[in-house]
């Protein structure tokens, strides 16, 4: 009973912290974009060669003629109601644009992450278990190499090799543009065909990270006393790994994967740019090229909030699966 109360309290505290963090990020977002060099109204309409009347008019529309604290309150209200302003380049609400792209990013990032976690953990376990063997050293070298490689560069190399040289995969996009698909399966096939290279690229880059973490965590766990206990009990190595080492090593992975979300986001931005994948990452790249600040502001807020919430979710999951958490 006491235990459950403690857990509840823990969750409440975490929940509060998460909300607070989101609040801080939103505030940071507001001030970053207000203290930047340049007149916000001017950046708002993008075209600097535009008449002062229009600017004045827009300032009113966007509330820029109000004092800063009022703007801030408006901003918070807008954020809560999902109103993130208008894009310069698209002339559409930022929220709509983000909503359009988000699914694509989640698809790419989701598949790549699952793939890299599964393979990363798998190889990590083998390497940790056969520590010092040729497999371990090979996997280690490969992972460090992947880790050191900028995702965008790997992407470019993949395009040259597989799209341009072998012509096995399309260079960019998510489907054949403007092509009407007969069935869902047809569409899925098309998407998968386009998705292959970006997914593999992202997965390879992430793979290194997960492999290294899994390997080191497992090596740590394998030196723990209870592993010796298990050996003394007469358990076979495979059983020790499965019943005692893995669970202990996988638990921290939950947290580590959450922490590495920033890394995933970074990889996604790079890969989407190279492959013109119509997701949030490419949106960032394009709004950078157009200096489309409202989009940049919106994407930054959304991505940060997603990562924060994912962290919170991982905390919850951790509390649920790890018997030790009760503070």
């Amino acid at each position: 009973m006491v235990d459950r109360m403690a857990k509840k309290k823990y969750l409440l505290v975490k929940c509060g912290q998460t909300l607070f963090t989101i609040f801080i990020v939103l505030t940071l977002n507001f001030f970053l974009f207000r203290v930047m060099p340049g007149d916000p109204a001017r950046t708002l309409i993008h075209n600097p060669r535009i008449s002062p009347e229009i600017i004045a008019n827009l300032e009113k529309v966007f509330g820029l003629d109000k004092p800063l604290y009022m703007q801030y309150l408006y901003y918070l209200k807008n954020m809560i109601t999902g109103n993130m302003g208008m894009s310069f380049a698209f002339r559409r609400p930022v929220a709509d644009i983000i909503a359009d792209k988000m699914g694509n990013t989640i698809l790419l990032v989701g598949v790549a992450t699952v793939l890299s976690i599964a393979i990363g953990i798998f190889i990590g376990v083998i390497a940790a278990y056969k520590r010092g063997s040729r497999i371990d050293i090979g996997a280690l070298a490969f992972s460090l190499f992947m880790w050191a490689m900028p995702a965008f560069w790997l992407g470019i190399i993949m395009v040259i090799v597989f799209s341009i040289y072998f012509r096995a995969f399309p260079t960019s996009g998510i489907t054949i543009p403007g092509y009407s698909h007969d069935s869902f399966f047809d569409l899925a096939k098309d998407v998968a065909h386009h998705m292959f290279l970006p997914t593999i690229t992202l997965a390879l880059v992430l793979l290194g990270e997960y492999f290294l973490i899994m390997r080191n965590t497992l090596i740590d766990v394998l030196t723990e006393d209870f592993i010796m206990t298990a050996r003394a009990k007469g358990l076979s190595d495979a059983r020790i790994l499965q019943k005692h080492a893995l669970k202990n090593a996988l638990l921290p992975m939950v947290t580590i994967i959450a922490i590495s979300l920033g890394f995933i986001v970074a990889g996604a931005i790079e890969v989407e740019t190279v492959f013109s994948w119509p997701g949030l990452g490419r949106l960032i790249y394009e709004s950078l090229r157009n200096r489309d600040y409202p989009i940049l502001e919106g994407v930054f807020a959304i991505v940060s909030i997603c990562v924060i919430i994912a962290n919170f979710a991982s905390d919850l999951l951790y509390a649920y699966i790890d018997p030790r958490v009760k503070t």
Binding site: Q17, F20, T21, I24, V25, L28, L32, F33, M36, P37, G132, L144, F145, W147, A148, M149, P150, A151, F152, W153, I156, I157, V159, I160, I164, N216, I219, D220, T223, I259, L261, G262, V265, A266, I269, E270, T273, V274, I284, Y285, L288, R289, R291, Y293, L296, E297, V299, F300, V303, S304, V307, I308, N311
Partner: protein, 292 residues
């Protein structure tokens, strides 16, 4: 007292070096790194051409020849010279950005760990918030708002890297703080500042060394990414801006491997060099990873 301490450090350093020497990974990393440092230091003597010298029309985007070992770029500039001078930017950004994160991170970590309680709670809350904000989007936003210049890039990367350092420093301070000699110093009435600067900091430095080296690797990667995304200073050649212009001018489609490969490989090597070193130090300083 001072000399004794120097002797002690010498001995410690020698010990660490002996352990380090035994690590193949570490030695490969060190070798890569020294090579690149030499290249960066002697860039003006090593580069065959002025890397900024714009060529004639006939020189544009030409594959490797005897005159231009790595070929030329879309302005007819010598790519080998660009890669050589680019090492300066990468190392500079790596070192200075890391310096910024180390300074901020160490100060925050020291204060937090040393004073504890409210200060700790506040500082760690801030650190946690920074840790959870995805770093690349934050860097992109900052870099875009500040405008493209080398120092802005350094600042932006430095500002993003401190929270993890702060965490590491804090945990180390917490453990050192409770050691006998610190308690005795406090009892003797040494000032907080003195204890932190004279007694805790030197002890921490060796412990966060591996972390520092890995931060440099991350900083160099970040520079490459930001420059690739067009946030770097296009007036300075760095490996990232080279790749940016290569990508923008369609080197991939033209099959201009000579433009895409050298800067990319240079990035991979330098980052790998730092990573291998960081890893080797980690194995030395983290006994659990050390082979028994």
């Amino acid at each position: 007292m001072k000399r004794e301490r120097i002797e002690l450090y010498k001995k410690k350093a020698k010990n660490t070096w002996n352990l380090y020497k035994a690590s193949t990974m570490g030695m490969i990393g060190l070798f890569i790194l020294i090579s690149f440092i030499i290249v960066a230091l002697f860039a003006p003597w090593l580069e065959p051409y002025d890397p900024y010298k714009i060529g004639e029309q006939k020189d544009i985007m030409k594959p490797p020849t005897r005159e231009h070992l790595f070929g030329t770029d879309e302005l007819g500039r010598d790519i080998l010279s660009g890669v050589i001078i680019g090492s300066r930017v990468s190392l500079l950004v790596g070192l200075f950005a890391t310096l910024i994160s180390m300074v901020i991170g160490s100060i925050v970590g020291l204060l937090s760990g040393f004073y504890g309680k409210t200060i700790d709670a506040i500082l760690m809350r801030i650190t946690d918030i920074f840790l959870v904000i995805p770093f690349l989007p934050l860097m992109i936003v900052l870099a875009a708002l500040l405008g493209p210049s080398l120092w802005n890039i350094i600042f932006v990367i430095g500002i993003d890297g401190w929270p993890s350092t702060a965490r590491v420093v804090r945990s180390q301070v917490l453990s050192i703080k409770e050691r006998q000699f610190i308690l005795r110093l406090r009892a003797l009435g040494a000032s907080d500042y003195r204890i932190m600067m004279k007694h805790i900091s030197p002890n921490i430095f060796s412990l966060i060394f591996a972390n520092t080296i890995l931060t440099i690797a991350v900083s160099i990667l970040s520079e490459a990414v930001l420059s690739f995304l067009g946030l770097g200073d296009p007036l300075h050649i760095s490996w990232g801006t080279q790749l940016h212009f290569a990508f923008e001018s369609g080197a991939a489609g033209l099959g201009a491997y000579w433009y895409l490969l050298p800067p990319g490989i240079a990035i991979v090597l330098v980052v790998l060099g730092f990573t291998l070193m960081g890893y080797a130090f980690d194995e030395i300083l983290n006994p659990k990873l050390r082979e028994r």
